[in-house]
């Protein structure tokens, strides 16, 4: 990398801060930017600054939004009684793209990971409890990832809301659609057996 002119070295360094982008990939990306038109590069730089300037958390659900309250929370047709709890905004987007969920969301911005120093106080749990108490929530759907951290978070929330009259469910784990039992890992297969449903 030291063979490149200074501004290129700097760009490579900045690009390699991205997760999963090493020096080689960063160099490839930098090379692409050097070849790109000035307009293209400007558009990218501006869109980076734009996101930092305009994107904030929804005051209600902590989704990413341009406004004080996000589109979903403002939509009068959404069912405020059904609250879907997700770890991250990406999960919210993935569920929205299914187009079948008509409730509202709450984004925790993380999952319990004591080994990484992430405890309950780092998640938007208090805000979640406030909403459940305030908005007449009747069901909360735990849409954490099926990981150790997601499982721990789901368990914690289940305990937190135990005293309230709220139905608590968790999204199903099992064989993915189009999957093949031969190539499914043992954990997933066990879960799909454990959570079998009547036909």
């Amino acid at each position: 990398m030291s063979g490149y002119a200074l501004p290129i070295q700097r760009l490579i360094k900045e690009l390699s801060r991205f997760p999963g982008i090493g020096e080689k990939t960063a160099t490839r990306l930098a090379t692409f930017l050097i070849r790109a038109s000035v307009d293209d590069a400007k558009r990218l730089a501006e869109s980076i600054l734009d996101v930092k300037e305009r994107i904030r958390f929804c005051r209600v659900c902590f989704n990413l939004t341009e406004s004080d309250i996000c589109d979903i929370c403002r939509d009068p047709s959404r069912d405020r009684g059904t609250l879907c709890i997700v770890e991250e905004p990406d999960a919210l987007v993935a569920i929205e793209e299914c187009g079948t969920f008509r409730g509202v969301y709450h984004v925790l911005h993380g999952a319990l990971a004591p080994l990484d120093g992430i405890g309950p106080e780092h998640l938007r749990l208090q805000e979640m409890m406030d909403r459940i108490n305030r908005d007449g929530v009747t069901e909360i759907i735990l849409a954490m990832n099926p990981t150790v951290q997601g499982d721990a978070t789901a368990l914690l929330i289940t305990k937190m809301v135990a005293g309230l009259h709220v139905r608590v469910t968790r999204i199903a784990q099992g064989i993915p659609v189009g999957g093949d039992l031969r190539y499914t890992d043992k954990m997933t297969l066990s879960k799909s057996l454990e959570f079998r449903r009547g036909m």
Copy 2:
């Protein structure tokens, strides 16, 4: 992606222009930027603009540089009689990092690829010929990639300089250091046999 706020969608679109970066990876990078500090994001945006503003081609060898003539071409200790021809600036950097080559370079900015519409007129070949004639070059080392395009380019240059009293060599192809014959592809193995050297 349509579930994200507009500035995020725009950033994802701009990031997915990078080669090898699809929408999923672009979304991951955008998410990282959203979480990053404003300062980090600004530094990245600035380094992108900076590269576009400050980097140009060396007037002599067409390497990327901040000045009119690059550091290598200005270095009086480099041997101007030995000219290493490369396809791209990255190749130049790779060779420089070996630290053993003391000649100078010429960057073609591409390789012959008639199917992609890249002919001799798209490469810095005329400038190469001018240098060979002007600078008393005694050897040109063809450091094209060992690909169909690189081979075609090497062949073309060999023909172009045939009348001049210049030694033409090409960097060796063969088993990479630390490689294993069992796992080496047939083409490489054939080349390593064909180009065997006396001990």
